[in-house]
Assembly symmetry: C2
């Protein structure tokens, strides 16, 4: 019989539809993505040589005079970087001026080198850029919260092939973040514990949903995973905010995230996916009840009317089976 | 400058990214869908002649001995129709047995006749079937809530071309419904008014987001529409539940919904879309603070990492412009 599982952190209920279940390898075949075939595309705005086609650079990590990671304002920014923060109400309608920061993190000069194909040293620089920009942008007094994410592939919403991530600093705290903070505070009030630390200890006892554990992080499928291979990566040590991660933790995270993305690439045939750093507003650093993490969602199934109409998800794979598959998937190319 | 708008009913904030805005007709061209080319497909499980390929029929509307609308249990049901409702907790993990009802409403015997191409009389039967099954399934004591929806096209999550809708009766109230009920109750507590009625009067004063008004319903774009052409259809008279709609209201709804779907079909080149009846649990009938409605979301843009990572949406079209476009789009084929 199928079961309906509860996610205590997000308060989501997920139908784990075991009767419809597919074997993990079937999802791999569903949407293989071809990697780009050229290392340099003269028409790509993110390729070296085309630096003048983007708005002026705000950050770079360079080596031997050449940029390795480069951050620029999004040319098609969803928010206005220059304006003033204003709020107004007209009857029951509320509006905030659309000010904020929207940046693109160009991860590598190589057009054909997504995270799975970057070296450890290269991918560490990407994570360093994430943290540096996160730190900078959250200091803008108009910015209430920063969402940092990567869309890999067209089904994940990416229109450009060149490996890149994005960051959006909004003048409000997104409702999803606010709701999770409220829920975490309630749990802390009732139990005296961080809800994320509680879930993490539970997963470490169960082990069946754990994919990889490193010195500082655990990658696991949530008990109520929304989709096949939906992954959460929690820091082992309680840390409210991404800003509180140490240099050593960041390097460890980079190695782990790269290896997970290699498992996707080589084990699931390079599926489209979304990655996001889930962290509270800057001033939440030090909170005892909140805990930052990373989420990865391969887009191997579609969000349809039931999910839109109810907010509930149907997962057609057993999280324990998906975890086992990823655990046993090497982060290396298959030998032929 | 872009603006960030608040939806007082869902408590969502949406970035209306006017700088990125496209003209309404550009979305039409983005994803044209070809209609099926055959009126009868011998391989289709929903086409007449293949009735034995589905689980036994639970409901039909017939004319001259032939079925016009037919409802069957979903062969690949997400939930088990036979089991017992049980709940268990293991530490912080909560699980409910996956019992419930998952049905398919086959809207027409004609493989190539989506709602936009059905006659008014035909589409009225579809809405009657919606209501009849909704009424029946909500009487199952294990069912806490019914989600009724339609996926049109592959991007909307449909894998079968033959026009059909679905209904899922879950043993829990979906968190999204619960959250909206809580929010509506709070508004009622503070103001004495139904939050939906308040939004509706506001829209009728503004008029700029109204697409169509009939005797009993108003179709409009929410002030903070999540996507281009995201539509809400509210009953004018306060009614908590879909069950409380009169026969006359249902017939009026059928005509309106058909005409909207014709606007999509002829004006937006038959985009994929999701339709859902948003109604509270059965026992909420009569509530003063809740109000059922219909939601339509054409899938002309993609949900990407920002939406997943923050729960906020970026709408690249001004709702007032989208409304104007739909208002002026005839529900008839263009003359050539």
């Amino acid at each position: 019989m199928p079961e309906i599982r509860h996610n205590i952190i997000t308060r989501e209920w997920v139908i784990i539809a075991t009767e419809r279940a597919k074997r993990p390898e079937e999802f791999a075949k569903a949407n293989p993505r071809r990697p780009p075939s050229v290392a340099h595309d003269p028409k790509c705005v993110f390729c070296p040589g085309n630096e003048t086609l983007t708005p002026p650079e705000v950050f770079r990590i360079a080596q031997d005079g050449a940029w390795q990671v480069r951050v620029v304002p999004n040319k098609f920014s969803a928010l206005d970087a220059a304006g003033e923060l204003t709020r107004r109400s007209e009857g029951i309608k509320r509006v905030i001026s659309g000010v904020g920061i929207h940046e693109v993190i160009v991860e590598t000069p190589a057009h054909d080198r997504p995270p799975a194909l970057q070296s450890e040293a290269e991918y560490e620089r990407v994570i360093q850029a994430y943290r540096q920009r996160y730190d900078d942008v959250t200091r803008d007094p108009r910015v209430a919260h920063v969402t940092l994410f990567k869309n890999h592939g067209e089904r994940a919403g990416s229109s450009l092939e060149h490996p890149h991530s994005q960051l959006v600093g909004t003048p409000i705290i997104p409702p999803q973040v606010r709701d999770r903070m409220e829920n975490a505070l309630r749990f802390y009030d009732e139990t005296g514990d961080c809800i994320f630390c509680s879930v993490l200890s539970d997963e470490l006892v169960d082990q069946v949903r754990v994919v990889t554990q490193t010195e500082h992080f655990v990658a696991f499928l949530p008990f109520a995973a929304l989709t096949p291979f939906h992954l959460w990566i929690f820091p082992l040590r309680h840390r409210a905010s991404f800003l509180e991660a140490t240099e050593e933790e960041l390097a460890d995270l980079a190695r782990l995230l790269r290896s997970i993305q290699r498992k996707f690439y080589f084990g699931l045939e390079n599926p489209d996916y979304n990655l996001s750093i889930r962290t509270p507003p800057r001033e939440a650093s030090g909170l005892k009840y909140y805990h930052w993490y990373v989420s990865l969602i391969p887009r191997v199934t579609r969000v349809a009317g039931f999910e839109i109409g109810s907010g509930m998800f149907i997962n057609v794979a057993l999280p324990e089976k998906s975890a086992e598959f990823l655990r046993n998937t090497p982060g290396e190319p298959a030998r032929t």
